[in-house]
Symmetry: C2
Subunit: 515 residues, 2 copies
Amino acid sequence: MMPQKGFVRTILVETPSLTDNTADAQRLEKCLLDELCTDKIRIPLQVLKNLPSNLRSWGFKARAVLFKDRHSWILVDLLNPISNKPVLGTAVDIGTTRITMSLIDLESGQEIGEAGFDNPQAVIGPDVLARIHYSSQNTGLDELNHLVIDAVNLNMSALCKEYGYQKENIYLVTGAGNTTMTHLFLGIESFEIIKEPYIPCVNIPDTQPAGSLGLDINENGVGFLFPNIGSYFGGDLISGILFSDLDQKEDPCIMVDVGTNAEIVVGNKDWLIACAGAAGPALEGGVSKMGMTAKPGVIDQVWIDPYTRDLMIHTIDGKKPVGICGSGMIDLAASLFLSKRIDIRGKFFKPACGERLLEKDGINHFILVDENHSGTGEPICLSQVDLNSLTSSKAAMYTILEVIVKNTAGLEFEDLHKFYVAGTFGSFINPVSAISIGMLPDLHLETFEVLGNSSLGGAKVLLKNPDAFERIMKIRQSITYIELNVNQEFMNMFSGAKFYPHTDESRFPSLQNMI
Amino acid sequence: MMPQKGFVRTILVETPSLTDNTADAQRLEKCLLDELCTDKIRIPLQVLKNLPSNLRSWGFKARAVLFKDRHSWILVDLLNPISNKPVLGTAVDIGTTRITMSLIDLESGQEIGEAGFDNPQAVIGPDVLARIHYSSQNTGLDELNHLVIDAVNLNMSALCKEYGYQKENIYLVTGAGNTTMTHLFLGIESFEIIKEPYIPCVNIPDTQPAGSLGLDINENGVGFLFPNIGSYFGGDLISGILFSDLDQKEDPCIMVDVGTNAEIVVGNKDWLIACAGAAGPALEGGVSKMGMTAKPGVIDQVWIDPYTRDLMIHTIDGKKPVGICGSGMIDLAASLFLSKRIDIRGKFFKPACGERLLEKDGINHFILVDENHSGTGEPICLSQVDLNSLTSSKAAMYTILEVIVKNTAGLEFEDLHKFYVAGTFGSFINPVSAISIGMLPDLHLETFEVLGNSSLGGAKVLLKNPDAFERIMKIRQSITYIELNVNQEFMNMFSGAKFYPHTDESRFPSLQNMI
């Protein structure tokens, strides 16, 4: 027989005889231990109840649905080997703002479909802080827990229906979220996360019966949430590292996940260094807060027409422009800088901007789209205030990268074999633009790789590959988490990075031909 | 601090700090692993939910209620260290006929009270066979399961009430029963137990959340049933061995448990040999089936007046005699034999019996109590048929002892350091009488020790001593279970043992002065 790899395996239990009167459960256990090359497996009471008649009517053959936690393997359910009942799993990225899930066929490993929806906890508060505060009042924790669980159940059920499955077909749920989202999903107290000394209730949640998590899937199903490293280093990032394979690389690589927070991990199979969360005042406002959310009419790309030197735009769905999103902002800043419309300090250069620059209330505004071409009837502008904010953000990003890669890991940017950009925001950034404004280091373009939703990606990996479990635990063990120390040295580096592309131009050789 | 030994321990969790941001659950885990000198513990989600606020309001001190199974230690609940909320456990002997339970204070190890009640499954059928048959029909298994669980709940609740406790004070339930009773208690299919090749569903049940067993105790409580070795070798016997300490003896000892079946274990710390269950036609009717159940007026002791040579009787509660129980029967047979009223073949000897012997329907009847002194208005008699049955039983018992001690273990009876008599029936047997009729071997009286309900005893030991767990698993591993082979050799031995005391009188030297 081919060696089996996933969480669903066909097994053949030894038949009993008068000379071997070992109980069914113990023979099943032995068979599973051999199959899994392990020394411990838990068999739930529910599976035992009809084990004798099932084994006999199935000729001692069965389809075993399995899972794991750090304590042992777990037999989730035992199915008729000749039934073609689908065995599915759901991977969930439990984002603060948005929840994304993917339905996976656990036997083929194939993805059936994906669904995304806004985290309904937003009705309580937009961010982690507001929700934690709310959770500490009266029934707040329960309410927040039910909001997310109910929404996940509803969407899982809809996803099943859409593709012709039953929710009873789902046996495993893997979820990755930041530490607070994970706590609220588990229904456990989270308020110490934001109180000094910032202690989560749990780092490594065990696999739980789906019922005890309120998950409406197969009655024997189980749920597992990715472990975290601390209050500011969540399971979503561990999941992202798993997805990026950073923990298996020979050469050092970096992963930057720009979601609600910017999170950065650098390392290889031997070591991992990470920083995450609030990076002090430098990142206030956040890299991802730039611009508006992507929707039809939003400008997502800006470039310079090589002949006319005019600024060209692309909008989502080709609709009339209504605003600009983060990736568009970075493109715009790069275009403005490369066309010398802004100077190395990040200030609008009037002679180059010409009549596109207007002063309103003493503040310069660059008109990207005039009111006649705008979808809102108002001109779409970038003010000096917006630009300053962008400058701060790009400088913060570069400085953090410099701190972690150079000061902490003792590497040069050139030593990075791969530069993974994860997160929704990251997916749309044009690396050339980001390099042009000095937000990302000047590496070969093929070094950059977009990962997309790496948190969801890691949760999917875990559904398909039992070995991922050990990797997750090893990632947790091997990560050195550094607090960004916003001291004088940081502020000096930050000041240099606020220039376009940087006070030290030699760091951006590829720009020499462009500027 | 004194080393703590039981399942309730006061612990002090390390307080968190800015330099150690490990999660509460992981610090609790570390503390428990250190306390228990182990490498694995499971902490239930329920305990995590309010862990942060509990630990902080308790100054990071707590009372931990713990338990185990073969996979790991289990944290059952975490309590306020200054509350004096009682923490109780219930040990249950799940007998086919009668269920006995004992309520234990898990901190002091003291027994609070005991309760006994008839197994309500008797309404379905009196024995294992009838119940297993019933369990395989429609909802039979569920019905049988509910009968026993409901009765246990009812009696636990009453026991709590009687002694001023709440059922929520109960955190642990340990139960020992034969293999079928164990299966029905767990609600798992049991019909393969009686079908060739006689395979139980489970040998080693894991510790289960009380709720999943239907046990109405503390919501975080757990239940554990003793493992069995096979269909005919149940957890009650393992529990009995634990209680007898047979597995820790230097010199070989024997334990005979006469319940619904006769079960015998001989061994020491290095080896254990057991036989149990049906011993073929020789034991049909069973040793314990002799006589009636003990109740007021039942003759439980018979002896010979040393002066008059008359037979003297004692009844339970001193009431007028209404019948005779098992121990009374053995006393009676011994008295009849020692006073030569029956001969070495076990036949009434008319000249010695005198007018006490009456022939009815061609069968001799020995009148122990005449109608004038009887509580029923009828004489209380022992017929030759009764006596033959007793003779068979005593011969079967002796033969089984001989087979296991001599033929199997290769010992002489004299090598036995202790002879434990367990079971309700055994508790009342007068060893002198049993020796006199050749039922038990002729050992020094101080060799015999009455254990009482050893199955309940072992379940109590487990509640008080976590080390018992490893012993239980080791007992399971080290037992050699032998099927009694009722062959020609057995029948020859049996024939000799049907004499009073035996064809080989030299085996009973102590009788030389008495006969």
